[in-house]
Structures are given as C-alpha cells and as structure tokens.
Amino acid sequence: MEIKSNFLLIENKRWVTASIFLALLVILPIFILFFSFFSSEKETLIYLFNTVLLDYTLNTIYLIFLTSFFTLLFGVFPAWVVSNNTFKGRSFFDIVLYLPLAIPSYIMGYTYIEILSFTGPIQTYFRYNIPYLSGFFNQDYLQVEVLGIILGLALYPYVYTASRISFSMIGSNYLNISKNLGLNSNSSFFKVVLPLSRPAIFSGLFLVIMEVLNEYGAVQYFGVNTYTAGIFRSWNSFGDVNGAIQLASILLVIVLIFFSIERSSYSKSRFYYNKNTQLNIRSVSSINKSILYFLVCFIPFFLGFLVPFVFIFNNTLDTLHLADFTKVINLTFNSISVSTLSSFFVILIALFFLFVERISKTKINAYISNLISLGYALPGAVIALSLMILFSESLVVGTFGLLLFAYIIRFLAVGKSPIKSSLQKQPETIDDTGKNLGLGPFSLLKKVHLPINRFALISAFIVTFIDVLKELPITLILRPFNFDTLATQTYEFAVEEMLPLSSIYSLIIIILGSLMLLILKSFIDKELDVSKS
C-alpha cells in the first residue's frame, strides 16, 4: 500500500515508467553477467586466482599509477598555464592540446614502437650519422614504463579538459583572496586552485582509469599482462567464456566501489563555482617564464599529437600507391554513419534519463541515471558477449540494430556527462515557470531544455562520436557481413604487422577526430562564455 501511495505522489508517472523500462533494457546485458556469475562453473576462475591473477592485478595497479601520473603531468599544468596566462602561442595551444584524443591508444602504442625501433627513423639516423651515439638509443622500448608514458600521452586530454574548464570557472575572487592572504601565485595554485578543482580533475582521471582498465591491444603488444588480459586468457586461451564473464563481473564490482567512494568524497567537498567573475589572465613579463610556459604546453602536444601524426602522415604518403581508394571512401562512410547514428541515440537516451530524473525528483531515477553509466566500466568485448548471450538463437546478432545497441550501452556514460553538468546549471525555476505557462513535460523538454542545453548536447554528440570512431572490440564481434570501419581495418593491418598499410585508415580517423575536436573546442568556449555572462 505504501509503495502504491508513494508511486501516486510521483510527478509525471508516465515518464518515470517509460524510463524504468528503457533503463531495464540498457542494464539487462549487465544483469546477464551477474546471473552467469552465480550459475556457472568456476574452474578457470579458481585456476587463474591460484596462478596469475595476483600478478595481473599488481601489473594493472602499476600501469594505472604510471598512466595517472603522466596524464596529470600532461593535463593539469598546461591547463593551468593556458587558463591563467598570456604568452606566445597560448591561443594555438588552447586549441591543439585536445587533439591526442583523436588518436586511438593502441595506434599510439604501435606507432611509437615503430618510431623507436631498430629499423625506425631515430635509430637509423643515429646509426648512419652519429654512430657513437646510436648505442644509447638502441634500447628495448617495450616496457611498462614506456607504455605508461604512451597511454599518458593518449589519455591526458581527459584530465586537461576537465581541469581547463574548472580552472576557468574558479574565477578571480578566490585568487584575489589568496593573494591578500599572502600566497604567491605558485602557492595559490597548489593550496587553493588544485583543491577546489579536485572533483573535476578526479572525474577526468576516472575516465583515464576506465580506459586503462579496458585497454587490451596496446597492453598485449607491450607484454604487460593486466586484469583485462586475464579476462582474455580465460576466453581466448582456455575457451572458457564463463570464466571471462566472472572476471569481468568482479572488475565491475571493484569499479562500482571505487566509483561510489569517489562520489561520496565529492559530495562532501562540493563547492559552487563563482560565476560573474572572470579569471584575470595575466600577461607574462619574464622571458624565462614565457619559455617555461611554452614548453609545458608544447611537450604534450608535440609528443601526443604532432610526432605520431607526422609519422603516420609520412607512412601514408609512402604507401599511397598501394591504397585502394574505393575502399578508403567506403570505410570512411561506414565509420561516419555508425558514429553519427549511435552518438545521436546516445545523446537522445542520456537526455531522456536526465530529464526524467529532473522532473520526477524520485530516488529511483537518480539511481537509474547512475546505473546506466555502468557499461563504461566493462571491456567492449564483454558487452558484446553479454548481448550475444541475451539474444541467443535469435536473428538479432549481426544486425546494425544490435551493433548500435552495444555502442549505446558502452558509451552512454560518455554522452551523459556533458549533458548532466549543463542541466545541473539550469535553475529549477525555469521548469516551474514553464509549468506555469502550461507546458507539459514534452514541450518543456523541446521548447526550453533542448535550446538552452544545446551546446552541451552538441559537445556530448562530439565526444561520443570520437569514441565510436575509435571503437574496436564491439565492432569486431557484432558487426554485420562485409562491414568494415576505419578502426577495424587499421587493426587488421597492425595486427598482421603491416603497420605502414594501416596508416591511411588511421590517418583518416585522426583527421576526422581532430576536426570534431576543433568544433568541440569552439562550443566549450561558447559554453564558458554563456555560464559567465
């Protein structure tokens, strides 16, 4: 009875009911995993526990530590320098520091090893020109530490973006106060700005850690056995799918615990960005400082984007006579279509859940909005596996519909976060005013929230687009016949050790991704302006 009367109190019941059904659909594959966890043999799981799993877990922790260190190094400092100072090249760096996000991390890994290898340009140059130094460069670069740096370069934009937005929104009041209290600019940064931006930086770092946990191509190449390698050892070596599912479920629970700890610490330290005050951008007087700031920004951009881009571009030119242009155009079209379609659905569904959460104000919907993000914590291959099990014996596997569904489960969290932060900024009085004017929920969504959150929606579209563009395991497992994307073709050449032939496909991924990021950048600027005005 109580439940029933509670339900009667909920506003917009139809919306809430619809959201529960849709959420079940999205979460179902994840439930399937837990179901098979309890129902199946645990032979392989126990075997892995007894043998290699501890080692794999320690490797994972070490790799996460290394990658976090380098993403913070390459992300936070440039963000601070760009937000707070003018110097030569600032506006350029403000645009290009995002770009490494366009390069899939496994391509970054393969490319750097090729560049650094015995037959690569650096070692060859030294052998022929400065032989006495060539021994110095002749090293084994397939090391976990090198992988940490490479993943740091590929993933730092997550931290950079979060920090950059947070630093610009902190406003000058905090800084003026800290100056009055006698702190110099360095101490203000460490004692005031960093603690205030901790939640933002952490949310960026959280994405980085998720990416490291899901990374398989690069870690396998480097011979670093991580926890995910354990999942695949069970599946691909022992042919035991259940063992893989059990390991993935355990990973999911660990991520959930980590996630909620992060959440609760975040809610305790919540603070409000000071609007109406703009950060005073200081011009840098001393030349030394100018050079330092330039380098802080130049290094991540140079190593994270320019070097791999130029190398891949050069390889493309070298192999141009071997390229099949009909195929190139075809695959580009395929990649753009799946990325566009799935990003569109992702933002539609994310907006729906967040909007229902907002208008219903129920606890259920708050939970739902968190639960639908879980797909991001699962390796793509495991999501694909759970969908195959769910749709067993049906004609659904191998359709575009299921492929899109899998992308949606995987990337809902990515599309959700920009929309969420934008919606949170809109005061509830907007909704009340709308209601007083006689707007139903649908009109409120269409006439009010779509327009005022448009920058966030477009940002969400773009970040999802780039992720789908780079996506590999789901596409491989669930794709329809004769369906290749730029990412699958790049992978097939790379894994057959024909990296130069893959370059034209990876180059297009990078160019498309970069263009989208440049558009995204202009929207972030607009959003920052809007929130300040």
Binding site: F118, M388, T399, F400, G401, L476, R479
Partner: protein, 340 residues
C-alpha cells in the same frame, strides 16, 4: 525531430541479416589478409556466388556461432589455427565436409582425419638466428632451446599468442606434460627479455643485438624481406631461417594450418562446398603463394621464391587436432613455468 527518428529507425531495422540464401556464401573468418579478398573476388567472377565475410578473433566467432545456433547465417568458419577448429568441433558448430569436396592433391598429412575442416595453407613456427652470433651447426631441435648455452639469448613473444600456444600444445602431445614442463622452464631461463611484441619485433631485436635467436612464424620473415623499407629488409637479411627437428629419426618442424570448417547449420551448404573446392584447387592455391609467404596445402603448387629459398623441410606429422586437445595443458605449463 519525429521525421529524423522515423528515418533512423528505417535505416537501423532495414539492415538485418539476410539468412536465406540468394546466390551467396557467408564466412566467419579469423583471417584478414588482402589475398583473401582477391580469392573471393575471383570466386565470385567465376561462379556468380557472392562471398560475405565477418572478420573477428576465432574464439569470438565460435561464441557467435554457438549463440546463434540454428539461426546462424554462417556457412564457413575460417581460422589460422587447427586448435580453434578443434574447439569449434567440440562446441558442436561444425559438420563433416564431403570428402570429394577437398581437392585430391591436398597434402594428406595435413588433412583432418574426420574431415571437419579443409586446409588451405600452412606455416611453420621456426627458429631464426643471427648470422653474426650463431653458427647453424649449433642449432638442432626445439628441445635444444632449453639448453643453458642459449642463456639470455632467446627471444619470443607472449604466451597469450595463439602461435606459441599451438607450439606448446604440439610439444605436450609429442613429449608428454612432465618433459614439456621441464623444457618450458629451461626455455624461460634462456629468455633474453620478457616475452612481448610481435614476431617481426623479435627479428628486429636480433638485428638490434638484444638477443641471438627467436621463435617466429615462417611468413613474417617473408614479409620483412619484401618490405618497402630498406632498413627492414636489412634486418631480415641479418638473420637466417632454421627448421628444427629435421634429423632422420626426428619428428619434423611444428606446423599449423589455415583451414575452412563447414558450419553445422550452413544455410548455403552447396555454395560453401563450391568455395572449399575452389580454394583448395591449383588455381586458387597459386594465388595464395603469389600474394603471401605461406606454404600451399596443394602439393602440386610451389611456394613463392623467397619461401622456396629456405629449402624443403620435414613437417611434424602430429594429428593437428592435438593442437586444440592439449591447449589447456599447454596454458597451464606456460603459467606454471612463468612464460609470461
């Protein structure tokens, strides 16, 4: 807005799989070499049968076949590892191929005794050694790689690689678990560095002086020697190829096959059989050797010139299903002896 959604729904749901055969044949393939595309194109031109392909990893494709069950649109399962075909057969997703579908000139010693799969090419997992630092006379067998004289000199990739798993399975099948475990411990003690990288990276590491000999698949040497980059050709030329276990009483070098399995619920069975006939024929086998560095399964066809240059060799006549049967034991030995 409504129009967009309507349009999108049409796009999404109109592209469902076409199971019932028009004139086509559907492949789930682990192979993704450019030569395959050429073969399928030639087949279509000759027969009018369209070839549709899904490419992914073997275990993922087996899982897809299992879950699709009777509704699976796939006709053929193509792999580069007899072990995976063994697993597919154990999972009940394959049926026997009529014996007359496989070209009569396919080498008898690489056929499946029960005809669950048809081999198209084979490759050997061999030893390559530095021309500067190793004498050919020092090399003999896989077993000898555990000899302490190779301490800190041996290079190989990780144990998660299917080629290494197949090699280890063949050694378990030939020598038994206990001897294999001792062998593996000895090999691990000889590693020049932790296992990592690709086969090609092992050869480059020899050229760079990080090790003296490596276990790699034969065709990667071919790829290096045919590279567009002079540096890579040079690296390829700094090593020589050695086929182990060639002594008169010895078993021969370990090989593995690329092969086609006919799926249990094949909706276009006749077309699938036509494709098997075609790909094992002399005509198609010549296309394989001209565009890759694998050995042809058809005994009437000669391998490419680079490959021929390594000389003929005796192959290990082990029943290739053993590469799947002994796989779990092989993995246990890898883990137990610390082969990462």
């Amino acid at each position: 807005m409504k129009k967009i959604i309507f349009f999108l729904s049409i796009v999404v749901f109109s592209c469902s799989t076409n199971k019932e055969g028009n004139n086509e044949v559907n492949l789930y393939s682990q192979r993704h070499y450019s030569v395959d595309e050429l073969q399928y194109k030639n087949f279509t031109e000759k027969t009018g049968i369209k070839v549709n392909v899904v490419k992914a990893n073997a275990d993922e494709l087996i899982e897809r076949l299992k879950n699709e069950g009777e509704n699976s649109p796939a006709d053929l399962f193509v792999t580069v590892d007899a072990g995976k075909l063994y697993n597919a057969r154990q999972s009940g997703v394959l049926q026997q191929i009529p014996a007359n579908a496989i070209n009569e000139n396919i080498r008898r010693d690489i056929l499946d005794t029960d005809n669950y799969w048809a081999p198209i090419t084979y490759r050997s997992r061999i030893i390559v050694y530095s021309n500067e630092r190793v004498q050919k006379s020092e090399l003999s067998t896989y077993e000898d790689l555990a000899n302490p004289k190779w301490k800190k000199r041996l290079l190989v990739r990780s144990s998660s690689n299917a080629y290494n798993q197949a090699l280890m399975s063949s050694i378990v099948a030939n020598l038994g678990s206990e001897a294999t475990e001792n062998w593996s411990s000895g090999v691990v003690a000889n590693f020049a560095r932790d296992p990592k990288g690709s086969d090609r990276d092992q050869v480059k590491a020899i050229a760079a002086g990080q090790g003296d000999l490596a276990i790699v698949n034969s065709y990667y040497i071919g790829l290096l020697l045919a590279s567009e980059k002079d540096e890579e050709i040079e690296a390829g030329n700094s090593v020589s190829v050695f086929f182990p276990n060639q002594g008169t009483d010895d078993r021969g070098s370990h090989i593995n096959i690329s092969a086609l399995g006919l799926t249990n619920n094949s909706p276009n069975r006749e077309n699938a059989i036509k494709l098997i006939e075609y790909l094992t024929s002399e005509e198609a086998q010549k296309v394989y050797v001209n565009n890759s560095y694998e050995y042809p399964a058809n005994s009437l066809v000669q391998p490419s010139d680079i490959v021929k240059g390594w000389g003929e060799f005796k192959i290990d006549k082990l029943n290739l299903n053993a590469l799947g049967e002994y796989r779990p034991e092989a993995i246990r030995i890898f883990d137990k002896t610390g082969w990462k």
